[in-house]
């Protein structure tokens, strides 16, 4: 009875707040609806003003329009993938490096730890504003220091669509590295020190000790960090939204969903279709993670 209740309540909450909205999004993505009035199950009429064509079934038109005529769609997909790649190849390894260095007890490690962790405690909105001061064209730190803050030679860090994604990724990395560092540091502290001693006795150098002994032992924490990295890069939103509302070179799928669904004239169906695309992309790493977890669990169960 108690167990049933304890399991049932979370399950109901899960159904109500996760599965139902997800399913509703999928269903809405096949409609054309501006959020006013009711949905009905009649097909949309061709070549009729949108205002008379509301709440109707639209088939796969939303998806078709997204991939063919919506100019922001493919850049957004590309930017999400770049974001993921930078996090996996750069931000996360950087955080792990910081953790390993601090764990070795270098001088002033507590100070470094605090400095590197500081960005994690700030809200992303605040981080966006802090970096605005660094990147601003005529008044910003970088351009002033390198002497390119004039009106003809200023570098437009946040406005140039070829530069701004990278500029924002520096902001994101600044925070993500500190986040990963703290997670990894906790993992490193938990490693049994006798393992290191044994490795040293066996004649392993620092490099070998880390890769052959410590890293494999830390598998659970590595998985957590991998998941955090993927989640953080797919849900990226705050920084670009603060910077310029996610336009002009900073398009991300999360921003496109928001800009279509939240607003004066909503394109709920179209925005939902974009949301489903993001859901499908998210499912790939989630499935890999679940597959790995279940496989290792069943292996442990056998042994």
């Amino acid at each position: 009875m108690v167990v049933g209740l304890l399991l049932g309540i979370p399950l109901l909450l899960d159904l109500a707040f996760v599965w139902f909205p997800a399913l509703a999004t999928v269903l809405l993505s096949f409609t054309k609806w501006n959020g006013v009035g009711d949905l009905h199950n009649k097909a949309c009429l061709p070549n009729v003003p949108s205002i008379l064509n509301n709440g109707c079934l639209y088939g796969i038109q939303n998806y078709h329009q997204a991939v063919t005529i919506y100019p922001e769609f493919w850049p957004a997909v590309r930017h999400n993938l770049i974001w993921l790649a930078v996090f996996i190849l750069f931000a996360t390894p950087l955080g792990m490096l910081f953790a390993v260095l601090i764990d070795r007890g270098i001088k002033g490690s507590r100070m470094y730890q605090s400095i590197l962790f500081l960005p994690v405690m700030l809200s992303l909105a605040l981080i966006g504003i802090i970096w605005e001061f660094v990147y601003s064209q005529n008044l910003g730190l970088i351009n002033t220091v390198i002497g390119r803050n004039g009106n003809n030679n200023a570098i437009d860090w946040l406005g140039n669509p070829h530069l701004n994604l990278w500029a924002v990724l520096v902001e994101a990395t600044w925070r993500q590295a500190g986040y990963v560092m703290v997670l990894y540091l906790a993992g490193l502290k938990a490693v049994d020190p006798t393992l290191r001693e044994a490795a040293v006795v066996d004649g392993a150098n620092a490099w070998q000790t880390f890769w052959r002994v410590i890293f494999p032992v830390m598998r659970p924490i590595n998985v957590v960090i991998m998941v955090v990295t993927v989640i953080e890069s797919l849900r990226a939103f705050d920084l670009v939204y603060i910077t310029n509302k996610g336009i002009n070179g900073l398009e991300l799928l999360s921003v496109l969903v928001t800009s279509n669904i939240v607003g004066e004239t909503q394109r709920v169906g179209f925005g939902s279709a974009l949301g489903v695309v993001l859901l499908v992309i998210s499912l790939v790493p989630i499935c890999i993670f679940l597959f790995q977890t279940f496989r290792s669990e069943s292996r442990e169960g056998q042994s």
Partner: protein, 450 residues
């Protein structure tokens, strides 16, 4: 570790849910109270007399949803409401919501439990919500206040079905600003034609000035440049038809607009997509830039904020390009008030709208405002400064005024154009113009029809 980390967050989640539920319960109670209050407050006295509408005949409380969230306008609006209560006898309960939040939530707000009256904008933006039955026609109010406004103001307040849905409060013009001292010192004269405009820009550039301060990081400011070029080259009717997608975006007229803009680009402040308009206005304040095309609501207001020399600021209307349309039109966005469909205290709300639709009410609201102007005919508020007096004159000279692209078109289309115009600013070449026009047309088709 992960378990220990999870449980508090689950608990906070539950607490959060309880909080949300509590709020919604409280909200329900509040709305229940106000509805019962208004039910007893308007016992047939107002409704039976119908169109009597005389002052003091109404009672009860009217709720007023306001997006006037900045401190200055908030207190001006409160003063307006106090005056309205004094004039009509109806109590007003103001619910202020942050400006941007109010706009993005408008659909849900009007379908949920909206206030009786709410702040909104003229143009297609008003017509869109009126056409979907989310606002009530107020033709009877206009029968009484109609004499206070000219035909253009009435047209701005009229829905697609020919009924009135809005009572306007103020508007402001989009014009070319400059510092008088700079023009005097360098001997510049105000240009009235396209050629003079370009010549002046060229001269400013050789004098070491940025001819046009320009910023478009927020996306919307540059839409104003498109609007004015389109109205100067193709006229008001063409512009409005384009905004409603009755003319395709691939039309040669649109190409001409972009071509003229491309001629201006060498004289406009570079890196506009990374600059906020406040910073562009600062380059004008510092006399590093010669001119800036934007609304008085932004440039003059920024001068006041920065304590710059407002007395030195002056403006001229955008020069003539096509003699057929001369300088007959401009963007003059209008803000006003609407009556929601679900309003509970309709009679009192209409009485308040009648009061607001007078010159006296507008002058009262504009007491502390140094950049907007009222719409009532012949209104010369005693507090007007030089910019406001000139605004009234120049708006009055126009044969028609547009409202701004994001008010005259479907906002989804305005969003599409924000991206397109930013791409144009990055690359104003002829080849890119053609590509952008095609993209605009494809998106317009998906937004307006299907």
């Amino acid at each position: 570790m992960s378990d220990a980390g999870m449980s508090p967050s689950r608990r906070t989640l539950l607490r959060g849910l309880a909080g949300v539920a509590g709020i919604s319960v409280a909200g329900g109670l509040v709305s229940a109270c106000s509805s019962s209050g208004s039910g007893s407050g308007t016992p047939s006295s107002g409704s039976s007399t119908g169109s009597s509408g005389s002052s003091g005949a109404v009672s009860g409380t009217v709720s007023f949803g306001s997006n006037y969230s900045d401190p200055g306008v908030k207190s001006a609006f409160a003063a307006l409401c106090t005056a309205a209560t004094a004039a009509t006898g109806a109590q007003i309960k103001i619910n202020t919501v942050d400006h941007n939040t109010f706009q993005t939530d408008i659909t849900a707000y009007l379908q949920g439990t909206p206030d009786d009256l709410f702040t909104w904008f003229a143009g297609y933006r008003m017509q869109y919500f009126a056409a979907q039955g989310l606002a009530q026609p107020i033709d009877d109010v206009w029968e009484k206040i109609g004499g206070n406004f000219n035909a253009a103001a009435k047209a701005l307040s009229t829905g697609l079905d020919g009924h009135q849905y809005l009572v306007p409060l103020y508007n402001y013009p989009w014009v070319v600003f400059y510092n008088k001292s700079v023009f005097t010192a360098k001997g510049y004269t105000v240009p009235t034609t396209w050629d003079q405009y370009l010549t002046l820009a060229k001269k400013m550039k050789s004098d070491g000035l940025i001819p046009f301060a320009f910023a478009d990081k927020d996306g919307w400011p540059a839409l104003g440049t498109f609007d004015i070029l389109n109205m100067r080259i193709n006229g008001y009717d063409y512009h409005i038809k384009l905004m409603k997608h009755e003319i395709p975006w691939t039309d040669p007229g649109v190409t001409q607009v972009f071509q003229h803009w491309a001629e201006l680009m060498p004289y406009m402040q570079t890196g506009a997509n990374g600059r906020i308009w406040q910073d562009a206005a600062k380059t004008l304040e510092q006399k590093k830039a010669g001119m800036m095309f934007q609304g008085t609501n932004q440039v003059a207001a920024q001068y006041v904020t920065d304590k710059a020399d407002l007395a030195d600021l002056d403006f001229f209307v955008f020069p003539e390009i096509n003699p057929t349309y001369a300088q007959d039109y401009m963007d003059a966005p209008t803000d006003g008030f609407m009556l929601s469909k679900k309003a509970k205290n309709t009679d009192a709300a209409k009485a308040i709208l009648e009061y607001i639709g007078t010159g006296a009410a507008e002058a009262n609201f504009l007491k502390t405002d140094q950049w907007d102007v009222g719409l009532a005919q012949g209104l010369a508020a005693p507090t007007y400064d030089a910019i406001q007096k000139k605004s009234v004159t120049e708006i009055g000279k126009c044969k028609s005024v547009a409202q701004f692209m994001d008010r005259d078109s479907d906002p989804a289309m305005a969003n599409a154009m924000i991206a397109i115009i930013q791409k144009f600013i990055d690359d104003p070449s002829t080849g890119n113009i053609a590509t952008l026009q095609k993209s605009a047309e494809a998106q317009a088709k998906s937004i307006y029809t299907s």
